[in-house]
Amino acid sequence: MARKLSQVNIFSRRFYEKITIGIFGPFYIFFLIGINFKWITLTQEPFPRYILLGSAPFILISLYLTSRMKIFPQRMGDCVQVIVWILILSSANTYWGGPMRVYGPLFITFILLIPFFALLLDSFLPYFIGGTLSILLILDFLFLEPISSLSIFQLISIVPTIFVIAFISSSLIQRILTEQQIKQRLQIAYAELKKLDVAKSEFISIASHQLRTPLTAIKGYISMILEKIYGKPPEKMEKPLKNIYASNERLIKLVNDILDVSRIEAGRLEMELEKSSLEEIIDSVIEELKEEAKKKDIYLKFEKLEKPLLKILIDRNKIRQAILNVVDNAIRYTEHGGVTVKIQNPKTKIQIIVSDTGVGMTKYELSKMFESFSRGAAGTRLYTEGVGLGLYIARRLIELHHGKIWAESKGKGKGSTFYIELPIK
């Protein structure tokens, strides 16, 4: 792809990389070979050939790194480059002799500072110096050897010095300006984030208070009507009333789940760790859900270990909720047979195993089981209700305890087994 000259950006790092690699590289190699075969004779002695030769690997590494800059940490590449230029300059300095012995130390000191600038500034600078020096070195060898004129020496030492100063100052200014801009943008972004956070908290409060208030009224009044506080309702109405009550309970559960999820995702859940007995927790879960199981005419049992488990350090309420959600899910997807809860205690872990004789799961469903807002394939679970937040919440609560949760199933119609694994602390 041909590029127009106007498209070449002389302030870009690429431009100087090209000069460095394209002009200086071949020239330097030619120069080294030239000395070796005595095509080039050096007038001024002692010429520190070892410096030139010694710098060769650096040059090659540097050129390699420059060409592969994308995979190499930029700053390191810059530093290697700068070391190379120091070596070249020190050799050139000795070679040049004369006035460079006066300007040389100053110049070299300046160049020695470049690694710091390279670390401090954007990496354009060392490449610029590299490019400029490449050209100057070539000019040096082309013109200086026969004439050895003082004025050109001075020019050589002054020109890059001015360039260096100019670029360092402009880069510094540029850097300060960019930093200010970044700061401003960060401040704006931070303010935006704060606003969003407030909005989210507000949402949680609205969801909890505004949605729950009418739900409370429905729940309260229906339950009181069913308790016959307002007189005996006609028998025909009992079932519809119970249905309203059940639907309302589902809505309440949904609101609770959504609140839990938004809290978990906002990282607002605080752990309240205490030594607790898992058996007691499971007992209370069974107690709460046994009515559900009874309604569906399935069994719900807890097979305890012979020796009771030691109490472990957990957030009682969160673990209870996780187990409740898993068992509740098992009951929901089981029409015949029932649900069994077991505990296993291999060395450093405790496993709670919830197995059911329900509809089972396909591999795909297993993989999606613990994500938010997912549930079994549409239409295959005619008896399902809810949006499937329960298992997701369970997963997050177990993960807060550094535990694991997973499910296994031999396939459709073959039941499922859920595992909750907690480390013992």
Binding site: T213, T216, G220
Partner: protein, 121 residues
């Protein structure tokens, strides 16, 4: 007859609980906001206060601090009763010595009555 003060700004809910509590044999006083609640608490010295948290103007937490400062009524047991279950607010309420923090939707009025009976024992 035990006296109960219910501070609740939602009229429908306030009436509903009043119906239930009266039927269960309590004398019920209603207040729709904190200041009014404090006045009734001073006057009637109820056996238990059921306190909503999100109230117009001063919220339930502010009411609790007022109550605790007033030595004549500071020992009245309070049950926080709200649909707002922010963990921070719950902690604040616990610090101010509420007996319990109940989420309204989780209980039927009958269950609340049973809870109240245990608190009053």
């Amino acid at each position: 007859m035990k006296k109960i003060l219910l501070i609740e700004d939602e009229k429908i809910l306030a009436e509903m609980y009043r119906d239930k509590f009266s039927q269960a044999g309590f004398e019920v006083f209603l207040a729709f906001e904190s200041r009014e609640g404090l006045k009734i608490a001073k006057k009637e010295k109820p056996d238990l206060i059921i306190l909503d948290i999100l109230l117009p103007r001063e919220n339930g937490i502010v009411f609790l601090t007022w109550l605790r400062k007033n030595s004549k009524i500071s020992s009245i047991p309070v049950v926080a009763f709200s649909n707002y279950d922010d963990p921070v607010t719950k902690k604040e309420a616990a610090k101010l010595g509420v007996k319990d923090y109940l989420i309204k939707t989780n209980y039927t009025p009958q269950e609340i009555v049973e809870k109240i009976k245990t608190y009053l024992k």
